[in-house]
Symmetry: C2
Subunit: 240 residues, 2 copies
Protein backbone atom coordinates (compact mmCIF):
# COMPACT_ATOMS: atom_id res chain seq x y z
CA UNK A 1 0.00 0.00 0.00
CA UNK A 2 1.32 3.47 -0.77
CA UNK A 3 2.27 5.55 2.21
CA UNK A 4 0.09 8.63 1.71
CA UNK A 5 -3.55 7.89 2.35
CA UNK A 6 -4.96 10.89 4.21
CA UNK A 7 -5.39 12.97 1.07
CA UNK A 8 -5.73 12.40 -2.62
CA UNK A 9 -2.37 12.24 -4.26
CA UNK A 10 -2.58 13.07 -7.90
CA UNK A 11 -2.26 16.84 -7.87
CA UNK A 12 -0.36 18.90 -5.34
CA UNK A 13 -2.95 20.45 -3.09
CA UNK A 14 -2.28 22.54 -0.03
CA UNK A 15 -3.69 21.87 3.38
CA UNK A 16 -6.89 23.82 2.88
CA UNK A 17 -7.66 21.89 -0.26
CA UNK A 18 -7.59 25.04 -2.37
CA UNK A 19 -5.41 24.86 -5.44
CA UNK A 20 -4.05 28.40 -5.09
CA UNK A 21 -0.28 28.27 -5.36
CA UNK A 22 1.42 29.90 -2.39
CA UNK A 23 4.43 32.14 -2.83
CA UNK A 24 7.59 31.44 -0.89
CA UNK A 25 6.95 34.61 1.08
CA UNK A 26 3.57 33.28 2.16
CA UNK A 27 5.02 29.94 3.16
CA UNK A 28 7.69 31.72 5.15
CA UNK A 29 5.12 33.83 6.96
CA UNK A 30 2.92 30.84 7.71
CA UNK A 31 5.77 28.96 9.36
CA UNK A 32 7.01 32.09 11.11
CA UNK A 33 3.54 32.69 12.52
CA UNK A 34 3.17 29.10 13.60
CA UNK A 35 6.42 29.34 15.53
CA UNK A 36 5.52 32.70 17.05
CA UNK A 37 2.13 31.40 18.12
CA UNK A 38 3.73 28.29 19.58
CA UNK A 39 1.86 25.90 17.35
CA UNK A 40 5.35 24.68 16.46
CA UNK A 41 7.09 24.56 19.85
CA UNK A 42 10.86 24.78 20.30
CA UNK A 43 12.68 21.64 19.22
CA UNK A 44 10.02 20.55 16.75
CA UNK A 45 11.47 18.86 13.72
CA UNK A 46 10.54 20.49 10.45
CA UNK A 47 10.69 17.74 7.88
CA UNK A 48 11.11 19.01 4.37
CA UNK A 49 8.79 16.48 2.84
CA UNK A 50 6.03 16.99 5.40
CA UNK A 51 6.16 20.74 5.02
CA UNK A 52 6.15 20.33 1.26
CA UNK A 53 3.06 18.17 1.49
CA UNK A 54 1.39 20.61 3.87
CA UNK A 55 1.82 23.53 1.51
CA UNK A 56 1.47 21.62 -1.72
CA UNK A 57 4.92 22.48 -3.02
CA UNK A 58 8.13 20.57 -3.60
CA UNK A 59 11.04 20.29 -1.19
CA UNK A 60 13.09 22.72 -3.24
CA UNK A 61 11.00 25.68 -2.20
CA UNK A 62 10.73 24.49 1.39
CA UNK A 63 14.51 24.40 1.57
CA UNK A 64 14.67 27.99 0.39
CA UNK A 65 12.28 29.01 3.14
CA UNK A 66 14.14 27.00 5.78
CA UNK A 67 17.37 28.69 4.70
CA UNK A 68 15.82 32.08 5.39
CA UNK A 69 14.40 30.95 8.71
CA UNK A 70 17.76 29.58 9.76
CA UNK A 71 19.50 32.83 8.87
CA UNK A 72 17.15 34.48 11.37
CA UNK A 73 17.99 31.79 13.91
CA UNK A 74 14.35 30.82 14.21
CA UNK A 75 15.23 27.33 13.08
CA UNK A 76 18.47 25.46 13.39
CA UNK A 77 19.83 23.43 10.49
CA UNK A 78 21.74 20.30 11.43
CA UNK A 79 23.55 18.67 8.51
CA UNK A 80 22.04 15.36 7.43
CA UNK A 81 19.54 15.67 10.27
CA UNK A 82 17.19 18.37 9.19
CA UNK A 83 15.67 21.58 10.49
CA UNK A 84 14.42 22.13 14.02
CA UNK A 85 12.60 25.00 15.66
CA UNK A 86 15.18 26.81 17.75
CA UNK A 87 15.37 25.91 21.41
CA UNK A 88 17.56 28.55 23.03
CA UNK A 89 19.77 27.47 25.90
CA UNK A 90 20.17 29.57 29.02
CA UNK A 91 23.47 30.83 27.67
CA UNK A 92 21.89 31.83 24.38
CA UNK A 93 19.12 33.50 26.31
CA UNK A 94 21.58 35.79 28.05
CA UNK A 95 23.18 36.54 24.69
CA UNK A 96 19.80 37.39 23.17
CA UNK A 97 18.98 39.92 25.87
CA UNK A 98 22.47 41.35 25.83
CA UNK A 99 22.10 41.92 22.10
CA UNK A 100 18.63 43.36 22.57
CA UNK A 101 19.90 45.85 25.11
CA UNK A 102 22.69 46.95 22.81
CA UNK A 103 20.37 47.52 19.89
CA UNK A 104 17.30 48.82 21.66
CA UNK A 105 19.27 51.42 23.58
CA UNK A 106 20.38 52.77 20.24
CA UNK A 107 16.87 52.53 18.79
CA UNK A 108 15.11 54.53 21.50
CA UNK A 109 17.89 57.08 21.37
CA UNK A 110 17.30 57.50 17.64
CA UNK A 111 13.56 57.75 18.15
CA UNK A 112 13.85 60.24 21.01
CA UNK A 113 15.89 62.42 18.70
CA UNK A 114 14.01 61.96 15.45
CA UNK A 115 10.54 60.55 16.06
CA UNK A 116 7.75 62.40 14.27
CA UNK A 117 4.37 62.98 15.93
CA UNK A 118 3.01 60.37 13.56
CA UNK A 119 5.57 57.87 14.83
CA UNK A 120 4.59 58.61 18.41
CA UNK A 121 0.92 58.13 17.64
CA UNK A 122 1.63 54.76 16.05
CA UNK A 123 3.47 53.71 19.19
CA UNK A 124 0.58 54.92 21.32
CA UNK A 125 -1.91 53.07 19.18
CA UNK A 126 0.11 49.89 19.47
CA UNK A 127 0.37 50.22 23.23
CA UNK A 128 -3.40 50.71 23.36
CA UNK A 129 -3.95 47.49 21.41
CA UNK A 130 -1.73 45.68 23.88
CA UNK A 131 -3.73 47.10 26.72
CA UNK A 132 -6.98 45.95 25.12
CA UNK A 133 -5.64 42.44 24.55
CA UNK A 134 -4.54 42.30 28.17
CA UNK A 135 -7.99 43.34 29.39
CA UNK A 136 -9.80 40.77 27.29
CA UNK A 137 -7.32 38.10 28.36
CA UNK A 138 -6.33 37.31 24.78
CA UNK A 139 -2.89 35.96 25.73
CA UNK A 140 -1.93 34.64 22.33
CA UNK A 141 -2.56 38.05 20.84
CA UNK A 142 -0.83 39.80 23.71
CA UNK A 143 2.33 37.77 23.26
CA UNK A 144 2.45 38.67 19.60
CA UNK A 145 1.72 42.35 20.24
CA UNK A 146 4.20 42.81 23.07
CA UNK A 147 6.95 41.48 20.83
CA UNK A 148 5.74 43.52 17.89
CA UNK A 149 6.04 46.68 19.98
CA UNK A 150 9.79 46.29 19.96
CA UNK A 151 9.82 45.47 16.26
CA UNK A 152 7.74 48.59 15.64
CA UNK A 153 10.34 50.68 17.42
CA UNK A 154 12.96 49.26 15.08
CA UNK A 155 10.78 49.97 12.06
CA UNK A 156 10.21 53.58 13.05
CA UNK A 157 13.92 54.08 13.69
CA UNK A 158 14.33 53.46 9.97
CA UNK A 159 17.47 51.33 10.03
CA UNK A 160 16.95 48.15 7.98
CA UNK A 161 19.91 46.32 9.51
CA UNK A 162 18.88 46.92 13.09
CA UNK A 163 15.29 46.11 12.13
CA UNK A 164 16.16 42.72 10.76
CA UNK A 165 18.31 41.83 13.73
CA UNK A 166 15.56 42.92 16.10
CA UNK A 167 13.03 40.80 14.23
CA UNK A 168 15.20 37.75 14.81
CA UNK A 169 15.85 38.61 18.44
CA UNK A 170 12.15 39.17 19.16
CA UNK A 171 11.29 35.82 17.60
CA UNK A 172 13.88 34.15 19.77
CA UNK A 173 12.52 35.99 22.79
CA UNK A 174 9.11 34.47 22.14
CA UNK A 175 10.64 31.01 22.14
CA UNK A 176 12.58 31.84 25.29
CA UNK A 177 9.47 33.05 27.10
CA UNK A 178 7.76 29.83 26.11
CA UNK A 179 10.62 27.73 27.48
CA UNK A 180 11.52 29.61 30.63
CA UNK A 181 8.68 31.89 31.62
CA UNK A 182 7.34 31.35 35.08
CA UNK A 183 3.75 30.09 35.05
CA UNK A 184 1.71 33.21 35.24
CA UNK A 185 3.86 36.21 34.38
CA UNK A 186 2.86 38.13 31.31
CA UNK A 187 5.57 38.74 28.74
CA UNK A 188 5.77 42.52 28.86
CA UNK A 189 4.21 44.95 31.26
CA UNK A 190 2.41 47.37 28.99
CA UNK A 191 2.81 50.12 31.55
CA UNK A 192 6.53 50.06 30.79
CA UNK A 193 5.89 50.34 27.10
CA UNK A 194 3.90 53.47 27.83
CA UNK A 195 6.75 54.91 29.87
CA UNK A 196 9.13 54.36 26.96
CA UNK A 197 6.77 56.09 24.57
CA UNK A 198 6.43 58.97 27.02
CA UNK A 199 10.17 59.52 27.11
CA UNK A 200 10.42 59.29 23.32
CA UNK A 201 7.64 61.82 22.92
CA UNK A 202 9.39 64.26 25.23
CA UNK A 203 12.62 63.74 23.33
CA UNK A 204 14.29 62.63 26.54
CA UNK A 205 16.82 60.16 25.16
CA UNK A 206 18.62 59.25 28.41
CA UNK A 207 15.32 58.59 30.14
CA UNK A 208 14.07 56.49 27.22
CA UNK A 209 17.26 54.44 27.33
CA UNK A 210 16.98 53.88 31.05
CA UNK A 211 13.34 52.85 30.75
CA UNK A 212 14.17 50.43 27.96
CA UNK A 213 17.02 48.81 29.88
CA UNK A 214 14.89 48.50 32.96
CA UNK A 215 12.07 47.01 30.92
CA UNK A 216 14.33 44.38 29.38
CA UNK A 217 15.80 43.60 32.78
CA UNK A 218 12.30 43.02 34.10
CA UNK A 219 11.57 40.57 31.32
CA UNK A 220 14.80 38.67 32.01
CA UNK A 221 14.08 38.78 35.71
CA UNK A 222 10.67 37.20 35.23
CA UNK A 223 12.24 34.13 33.63
CA UNK A 224 13.20 31.00 35.47
CA UNK A 225 16.58 30.42 33.94
CA UNK A 226 17.51 27.03 35.29
CA UNK A 227 19.89 24.96 33.26
CA UNK A 228 17.42 22.15 32.81
CA UNK A 229 15.19 22.56 29.85
CA UNK A 230 11.83 21.04 29.17
CA UNK A 231 13.44 19.61 26.10
CA UNK A 232 14.19 15.97 26.70
CA UNK A 233 12.01 14.48 29.35
CA UNK A 234 13.87 12.09 31.56
CA UNK A 235 11.67 9.00 31.73
CA UNK A 236 13.69 7.38 34.50
CA UNK A 237 13.35 10.36 36.78
CA UNK A 238 9.60 10.41 36.36
CA UNK A 239 9.08 6.80 37.39
CA UNK A 240 11.85 6.62 39.98
Amino acid sequence: MPKGSSTREKKPVNEAGSARPLSNQEIYERIYEAVSERRLPPGTKLSEEKLGRAFGVSRTRIREVLCRLSSEKIVGLIPNRGAFVASPTVEETHAVFEARKAIEIALVKILAERASPKDVSRLRQHAAEEHAARLTGDWKRLIRLSGDFHVLIAELAGNPFLLETMRALVSLTRLIVFLYDSPRTPACLDHEHELIVDAIQRGDAPKAEREMVEHINHVVGSLQLKEEKVDEIDIEKIFA
Copy 2:
Protein backbone atom coordinates in the same frame (compact mmCIF):
# COMPACT_ATOMS: atom_id res chain seq x y z
CA MET B 1 29.12 23.30 -31.72
CA PRO B 2 28.48 22.97 -28.00
CA LYS B 3 28.90 26.10 -25.95
CA GLY B 4 31.63 25.10 -23.54
CA SER B 5 35.00 24.81 -25.22
CA SER B 6 37.56 26.23 -22.80
CA THR B 7 37.71 23.08 -20.73
CA ARG B 8 36.95 19.43 -21.19
CA GLU B 9 33.37 18.72 -20.35
CA LYS B 10 32.89 15.15 -19.33
CA LYS B 11 33.52 15.32 -15.60
CA PRO B 12 32.81 18.27 -13.32
CA VAL B 13 36.15 19.85 -12.62
CA ASN B 14 36.77 22.97 -10.60
CA GLU B 15 38.75 25.95 -11.78
CA ALA B 16 42.12 24.65 -10.67
CA GLY B 17 41.62 21.44 -12.58
CA SER B 18 41.78 19.38 -9.40
CA ALA B 19 38.95 16.93 -8.92
CA ARG B 20 38.66 17.52 -5.18
CA PRO B 21 35.01 18.16 -4.34
CA LEU B 22 34.55 21.42 -2.47
CA SER B 23 32.17 21.66 0.47
CA ASN B 24 29.51 24.34 0.51
CA GLN B 25 31.39 26.00 3.34
CA GLU B 26 34.49 26.26 1.19
CA ILE B 27 32.56 27.69 -1.74
CA TYR B 28 30.99 30.21 0.59
CA GLU B 29 34.37 31.28 1.92
CA ARG B 30 35.87 31.55 -1.54
CA ILE B 31 33.12 33.90 -2.71
CA TYR B 32 33.17 35.81 0.58
CA GLU B 33 36.92 36.31 0.25
CA ALA B 34 36.66 37.36 -3.37
CA VAL B 35 34.13 40.02 -2.40
CA SER B 36 36.19 41.19 0.58
CA GLU B 37 39.30 41.44 -1.57
CA ARG B 38 37.39 43.33 -4.25
CA ARG B 39 37.99 40.77 -6.94
CA LEU B 40 34.21 40.78 -7.22
CA PRO B 41 33.38 44.49 -7.04
CA PRO B 42 30.01 45.86 -5.90
CA GLY B 43 27.26 45.31 -8.45
CA THR B 44 28.87 42.30 -10.08
CA LYS B 45 26.34 39.78 -11.25
CA LEU B 46 26.81 36.33 -9.77
CA SER B 47 25.34 33.96 -12.30
CA GLU B 48 24.42 30.61 -10.85
CA GLU B 49 25.60 28.64 -13.82
CA LYS B 50 28.93 30.44 -14.11
CA LEU B 51 29.67 30.00 -10.43
CA GLY B 52 28.65 26.37 -10.70
CA ARG B 53 31.05 25.89 -13.58
CA ALA B 54 33.82 27.73 -11.70
CA PHE B 55 33.58 25.47 -8.68
CA GLY B 56 32.64 22.31 -10.51
CA VAL B 57 29.30 21.86 -8.78
CA SER B 58 25.68 22.12 -9.78
CA ARG B 59 23.46 25.18 -9.47
CA THR B 60 21.63 23.65 -6.51
CA ARG B 61 24.58 24.07 -4.18
CA ILE B 62 25.42 27.51 -5.54
CA ARG B 63 21.89 28.60 -4.71
CA GLU B 64 22.34 27.40 -1.15
CA VAL B 65 25.52 29.45 -0.85
CA LEU B 66 23.93 32.52 -2.42
CA CYS B 67 21.06 32.23 0.04
CA ARG B 68 23.51 32.41 2.93
CA LEU B 69 25.39 35.31 1.39
CA SER B 70 22.15 37.19 0.83
CA SER B 71 21.12 36.67 4.45
CA GLU B 72 24.32 38.48 5.39
CA LYS B 73 23.50 41.22 2.90
CA ILE B 74 26.75 40.66 1.05
CA VAL B 75 24.79 39.86 -2.08
CA GLY B 76 21.36 41.00 -3.09
CA LEU B 77 18.86 38.59 -4.62
CA ILE B 78 16.52 40.06 -7.20
CA PRO B 79 13.68 37.71 -8.20
CA ASN B 80 14.01 36.37 -11.72
CA ARG B 81 17.11 38.49 -12.18
CA GLY B 82 19.74 36.80 -10.11
CA ALA B 83 22.29 37.59 -7.43
CA PHE B 84 24.47 40.70 -7.33
CA VAL B 85 27.30 41.76 -5.08
CA ALA B 86 25.85 44.37 -2.75
CA SER B 87 26.34 47.99 -3.73
CA PRO B 88 25.35 50.05 -0.70
CA THR B 89 23.71 53.40 -1.34
CA VAL B 90 24.62 56.50 0.65
CA GLU B 91 21.51 55.98 2.73
CA GLU B 92 22.42 52.38 3.46
CA THR B 93 25.92 53.53 4.33
CA HIS B 94 24.59 55.77 7.06
CA ALA B 95 22.46 52.90 8.32
CA VAL B 96 25.46 50.58 8.39
CA PHE B 97 27.53 52.93 10.52
CA GLU B 98 24.59 53.75 12.75
CA ALA B 99 24.17 50.02 13.39
CA ARG B 100 27.88 49.59 13.92
CA LYS B 101 27.95 52.32 16.54
CA ALA B 102 25.03 50.75 18.37
CA ILE B 103 26.64 47.34 18.48
CA GLU B 104 30.28 48.27 18.92
CA ILE B 105 29.54 50.57 21.84
CA ALA B 106 28.03 47.57 23.56
CA LEU B 107 30.90 45.31 22.55
CA VAL B 108 33.70 47.46 23.92
CA LYS B 109 31.70 47.97 27.08
CA ILE B 110 31.44 44.21 27.49
CA LEU B 111 35.15 43.78 26.81
CA ALA B 112 36.18 46.57 29.16
CA GLU B 113 34.25 44.79 31.88
CA ARG B 114 35.10 41.18 31.11
CA ALA B 115 38.16 40.96 28.87
CA SER B 116 40.80 38.48 30.05
CA PRO B 117 44.52 39.25 29.72
CA LYS B 118 44.58 36.68 26.95
CA ASP B 119 41.84 38.60 25.09
CA VAL B 120 43.82 41.80 25.41
CA SER B 121 46.95 40.15 24.08
CA ARG B 122 45.07 38.85 21.07
CA LEU B 123 43.85 42.37 20.37
CA ARG B 124 47.38 43.72 20.75
CA GLN B 125 48.74 41.06 18.43
CA HIS B 126 46.13 41.90 15.83
CA ALA B 127 46.89 45.61 16.06
CA ALA B 128 50.56 44.79 15.61
CA GLU B 129 49.81 42.84 12.44
CA GLU B 130 47.88 45.81 11.12
CA HIS B 131 50.79 48.04 11.88
CA ALA B 132 53.16 45.72 10.03
CA ALA B 133 50.89 45.57 7.00
CA ARG B 134 50.72 49.35 6.97
CA LEU B 135 54.49 49.68 7.09
CA THR B 136 55.04 47.24 4.23
CA GLY B 137 52.31 48.95 2.21
CA ASP B 138 50.32 45.74 1.84
CA TRP B 139 46.99 47.52 1.34
CA LYS B 140 44.95 44.48 0.44
CA ARG B 141 46.03 42.80 3.66
CA LEU B 142 45.53 45.98 5.65
CA ILE B 143 41.96 46.36 4.48
CA ARG B 144 41.20 42.82 5.54
CA LEU B 145 42.93 43.20 8.89
CA SER B 146 41.41 46.53 9.82
CA GLY B 147 37.96 45.06 9.29
CA ASP B 148 38.89 41.88 11.11
CA PHE B 149 39.89 43.90 14.15
CA HIS B 150 36.28 44.83 14.70
CA VAL B 151 35.15 41.26 14.07
CA LEU B 152 37.72 40.08 16.60
CA ILE B 153 36.23 42.42 19.19
CA ALA B 154 32.84 40.83 18.54
CA GLU B 155 34.33 37.34 18.84
CA LEU B 156 36.00 38.09 22.15
CA ALA B 157 32.81 39.62 23.51
CA GLY B 158 31.35 36.14 23.16
CA ASN B 159 27.90 37.01 21.88
CA PRO B 160 27.10 34.94 18.77
CA PHE B 161 24.24 37.19 17.66
CA LEU B 162 26.23 40.38 17.83
CA LEU B 163 29.15 38.59 16.20
CA GLU B 164 27.15 37.54 13.19
CA THR B 165 25.65 40.96 12.71
CA MET B 166 29.08 42.55 13.00
CA ARG B 167 30.48 40.18 10.41
CA ALA B 168 27.83 41.32 7.96
CA LEU B 169 28.33 44.99 8.80
CA VAL B 170 32.09 44.77 8.41
CA SER B 171 31.70 43.10 5.02
CA LEU B 172 29.39 45.88 3.94
CA THR B 173 31.85 48.44 5.25
CA ARG B 174 34.53 46.98 2.98
CA LEU B 175 32.24 47.44 -0.01
CA ILE B 176 31.40 50.96 1.16
CA VAL B 177 35.04 51.90 1.50
CA PHE B 178 35.61 50.60 -2.01
CA LEU B 179 32.74 52.68 -3.39
CA TYR B 180 33.13 55.91 -1.48
CA ASP B 181 36.61 56.12 -0.03
CA SER B 182 38.60 59.15 -1.03
CA PRO B 183 41.63 58.24 -3.13
CA ARG B 184 44.36 57.84 -0.61
CA THR B 185 42.88 57.54 2.85
CA PRO B 186 43.52 54.26 4.62
CA ALA B 187 40.52 52.45 5.98
CA CYS B 188 41.28 52.55 9.68
CA LEU B 189 43.95 54.43 11.55
CA ASP B 190 45.64 51.73 13.58
CA HIS B 191 46.60 54.27 16.19
CA GLU B 192 42.92 54.46 17.07
CA HIS B 193 42.68 50.70 17.35
CA GLU B 194 45.51 50.87 19.87
CA LEU B 195 43.67 53.52 21.87
CA ILE B 196 40.60 51.30 22.05
CA VAL B 197 42.67 48.35 23.25
CA ASP B 198 44.29 50.60 25.85
CA ALA B 199 40.94 51.59 27.29
CA ILE B 200 39.74 47.99 27.29
CA GLN B 201 42.88 46.87 29.09
CA ARG B 202 42.40 49.50 31.77
CA GLY B 203 38.77 48.46 32.14
CA ASP B 204 37.71 51.99 31.32
CA ALA B 205 34.38 51.32 29.62
CA PRO B 206 33.26 54.93 29.04
CA LYS B 207 36.62 55.82 27.53
CA ALA B 208 36.56 52.72 25.32
CA GLU B 209 33.07 53.63 24.11
CA ARG B 210 34.12 57.19 23.33
CA GLU B 211 37.19 56.03 21.46
CA MET B 212 35.15 53.58 19.44
CA VAL B 213 32.53 56.17 18.49
CA GLU B 214 35.21 58.64 17.52
CA HIS B 215 36.99 55.99 15.49
CA ILE B 216 33.83 55.10 13.55
CA ASN B 217 33.10 58.77 13.02
CA HIS B 218 36.55 59.21 11.55
CA VAL B 219 35.96 56.39 9.11
CA VAL B 220 32.63 57.89 8.04
CA GLY B 221 34.22 61.29 7.79
CA SER B 222 36.93 60.03 5.45
CA LEU B 223 34.30 58.90 2.93
CA GLN B 224 33.10 61.00 0.04
CA LEU B 225 29.41 60.34 0.34
CA LYS B 226 28.08 61.92 -2.81
CA GLU B 227 24.91 60.50 -4.24
CA GLU B 228 26.55 59.43 -7.47
CA LYS B 229 27.88 55.94 -7.39
CA VAL B 230 30.47 54.28 -9.57
CA ASP B 231 27.87 51.62 -10.14
CA GLU B 232 26.80 51.54 -13.74
CA ILE B 233 29.42 52.84 -16.05
CA ASP B 234 27.92 55.50 -18.26
CA ILE B 235 28.91 54.49 -21.78
CA GLU B 236 27.87 57.85 -23.21
CA LYS B 237 30.11 59.78 -20.89
CA ILE B 238 33.11 57.68 -21.77
CA PHE B 239 32.88 58.32 -25.51
CA ALA B 240 31.63 61.89 -25.30
